[in-house]
Symmetry: C2
Subunit: 344 residues, 2 copies
C-alpha cells in the first residue's frame, strides 16, 4: 500500500479540484491511501459529495493556508499550514511515501529543502517537469526553477537525478542526457556550460549526448535536458506561452469563420488528440528531485485531472524506488575524479 499526502488547499482551484482528483485517483489505484491536509471541516463537507472508500482517506486538520505570493522562507515556519504541516508528517512518519501539492512553488521548494531535507550527497533539490515531445514520449527538464544560480557540480547531479527519474518514472532504460545551451557545438555557451560539458563527458552513470538547444526539448532526440534553474524556467515558460498562443489563435480562427466552424465539427477529435498531445499536465506535475521522499509540485492552475495524474505519478515513482536508485547512482560516481575545485 502506497501512502500519499495531498495538500487539499494548494492551487487556484483548491479544495474542490484537489478533492475531485483525489477521489478519482483512489478509484483508479486500489493500492493507494491518501492523507488530505487542510481545513478538516471544509474537506469533509466537500467529500460528502462523493462516493469513495472511507478506509483509504485520512484527513489532518491544518487550517492555515499559504498564499501563492507569500514569501517562501517565512512560509516554512507555518507548521499549521496544509503545505508545511504535510511536510512535517512526511518527514516524521516512515510509512508515508510521498507528497503532492499544487501550492506555491517557492514554498514547496523551501519546505522540501528545509523541513524534509535532501538525500545525502545531493547539493540542491531541482524541479523537474516531464514535457511532451514529438516522439510521443516525454523529455525531462531539470532544473526548471529551484536554483536560479548553479555551479557545474549541481548540473552534473541534475543529470544523474533526472536519469534515475527517467528510468523509474518512464521506463527509459538508457536515458540520453543533453546540456541546454545556445548552440549544439562543443565550444558553445558561457563558462558554466563549458565547464559542465567537460564534467558530464566524464561521468559514467549517465548517457551524455552533448549540447542541445531550446527546440530540442520538444523536438530532439534526448530524454533528459540539464539546465540551470534560470534558463530552464525560461525554456519551460516560453514553450507554455507558445503552446497556449497557438491553441488560442486556432480557437480564434475557428470562431471567426463559418467555413472553419463546419470544419471543426469534422476535426473535433483530431484537435482533441492534439490538445492532449501537447498538454503539459498530462504527465502530472514537476518532481522535486533530490529530496528524501517523493514530492510532486502540480501546476498552480491544476484541475482534477492534473491532480489525479500527479498522484498516479507519485505512486509510480515510489513503487519504482526512485530514492534508493538515486542514492546508488550518487555513490557509484567518482566525483573527485570528475570535478575539480572550481566546479564544486
Amino acid at each position: 500500500m502506497i501512502k500519499i499526502l495531498l495538500d487539499a488547499f494548494g492551487g487556484d482551484n483548491a479544495p474542490k479540484a484537489v478533492i475531485d482528483g483525489a477521489v478519482a485517483a483512489l478509484k483508479k489505484d486500489k493500492d493507494l491511501k491518501l492523507i488530505l491536509t487542510g481545513k478538516k471541516e471544509v474537506i469533509e463537507k466537500e467529500l460528502a459529495n462523493y462516493e469513495y472508500d472511507r478506509e483509504r482517506i485520512e484527513i489532518i486538520d491544518l487550517p492555515d493556508v499559504i498564499a501563492m505570493d507569500d514569501i517562501a522562507t517565512e512560509a516554512v515556519k507555518r507548521r499549521q499550514s496544509s503545505l508545511m504541516g504535510a511536510y512535517w508528517k512526511l518527514k516524521t512518519e516512515d510509512d508515508v511515501d510521498a507528497f503532492v501539492t499544487a501550492g506555491s512553488t517557492g514554498a514547496t521548494i523551501a519546505g522540501g529543502q528545509l523541513i524534509l531535507g535532501r538525500i545525502r550527497g545531493v547539493k540542491r533539490a531541482a524541479l523537474c517537469p516531464a514535457i511532451p515531445n514529438v516522439r510521443g514520449g516525454v523529455t525531462l527538464l531539470c532544473d526548471c526553477g529551484a536554483n536560479a544560480e548553479c555551479k557545474p557540480v549541481m548540473l552534473c547531479q541534475f543529470a544523474l537525478l533526472a536519469s534515475a527519474y527517467a528510468k523509474v518514472g518512464f521506463g527509459i532504460s538508457n536515458p540520453r542526457v543533453g546540456l541546454l545551451n545556445n548552440g549544439t557545438e562543443e565550444h558553445k555557451g558561457d563558462a558554466l556550460r563549458l565547464e559542465t560539458f567537460k564534467y558530464l563527458s566524464k561521468m559514467k552513470g549517465i548517457n551524455f549526448v552533448g549540447n542541445v538547444e531550446g527546440r530540442d526539448i520538444m523536438l530532439g532526440d534526448c530524454d533528459v535536458v540539464v539546465a540551470d534553474g534560470f534558463s530552464g524556467n525560461v525554456a519551460l515558460k516560453s514553450m507554455e506561452g507558445c503552446g497556449k498562443l497557438a491553441l488560442g489563435l486556432l480557437k480564434e480562427e475557428i470562431k471567426g469563420s463559418k467555413r472553419a466552424k463546419i470544419g471543426y465539427v469534422f476535426m473535433k477529435k483530431a484537435l482533441k488528440n492534439l490538445y492532449k498531445r501537447i498538454d503539459f499536465d498530462r504527465y502530472g506535475g514537476a518532481l522535486l528531485l533530490g529530496l528524501k521522499k517523493v514530492v510532486i509540485k502540480s501546476h498552480g492552475s491544476s484541475k482534477a485531472v492534473a491532480i489525479a495524474n500527479s498522484i498516479e505519478q507519485a505512486a509510480a515513482i515510489c513503487r519504482g524506488g526512485l530514492v534508493s536508485r538515486v542514492e546508488k547512482s550518487l555513490a557509484e560516481e567518482n566525483w573527485e575524479e570528475i570535478i575539480d575545485g572550481d566546479g564544486q
Copy 2:
C-alpha cells in the same frame, strides 16, 4: 534611394531563394537598390530567369562562401567571401545603408563587431528578432544569442537599443520594456537580474514595466523583452520548437483520420491564417542592434519570402533613422548616475 547589400550566398537555400527574394523586394519598393555579393557568374545566370529593373541591381564578385559551421573569428579574415566582402563595402561606402544575410549567425556577429564596428558608446551588439505576439503585433527579444555572458550595463543598453528599434521599425510610440526573469516579483532572479532591475528602474529613456517570464514574450503586455544572449536564445528556440511541434502534430492528426481530412477542406483558410500568425519569419530577420549601420540576419533556412521581408524591414529601419536615434538615446541617458562600478 535606399541601397542595401545582400549576401547572395548566405543560407541553406542560397543563391536561388535569395535572388528570388531580391527580385520580389525590388518590385515592391521602387525606391530601393540592391547590391548582391557572391559568385558573379552564378548570380547572373540565376538572375536571367527573372524580369527586373537592371538599373537597381548591382553585383560584386566575391567568390568565397563562409559555411554555417566555419569558426567565426577565422571567417572574419576572408575578405573575398560574400559575407565579409559585403561588410567591407558597408563600412567603406557612405551611400550604402544596410546589409541583409541569411549566412552563419556567428560570422555575421563577428563581422559586424570587427569590420563594421559599433555605434560610439555601445558596449556590445545584440541580436534582436521580432516575435509575433497574441496582440497581433511583435515583441522584440534582445539579446537572443550574440552575448552568452552579459553585465548589467549591457542589458540596460539592450533595453535602450531595442526601444529605439520598436519606435522606428514598428511605430510603437512608448515601448514597454520587460526584463526576462524566472518570475515576475521584484526579488526574483540571479545577481545579474537583481542588479539590472535596479538600473532599469532608474533609466529615463525607457518605459520599464518590471520582470516578465518566458510566456510573456508571446502573451504578455510588453513590446521589448531584455535578456542575456544565453537565456534569450533558449527562449527563442524553445518557442520555435513548440510552435513547430504544435503545427507538425496538427498535420499528423489531420493525415491520420478521414473525418479530419474532410474538416481540413473547410478549415484550410483558418489554418493558413494561423500559420501566418505564428510565423517567426513574417517580420523579417533578427536585427543586429548597436552597429554603425543596419544589419539584418535572416534565418538560415530563409525562403524567398523571408529574404524579401528582411530587405523590406531593413529599408524601413534605414528610413526611420534608427542609428541616429540610438545615438541620441545613448547620449541623453546619465549612465554614471544609473550604474555603479560593479554593473559596468
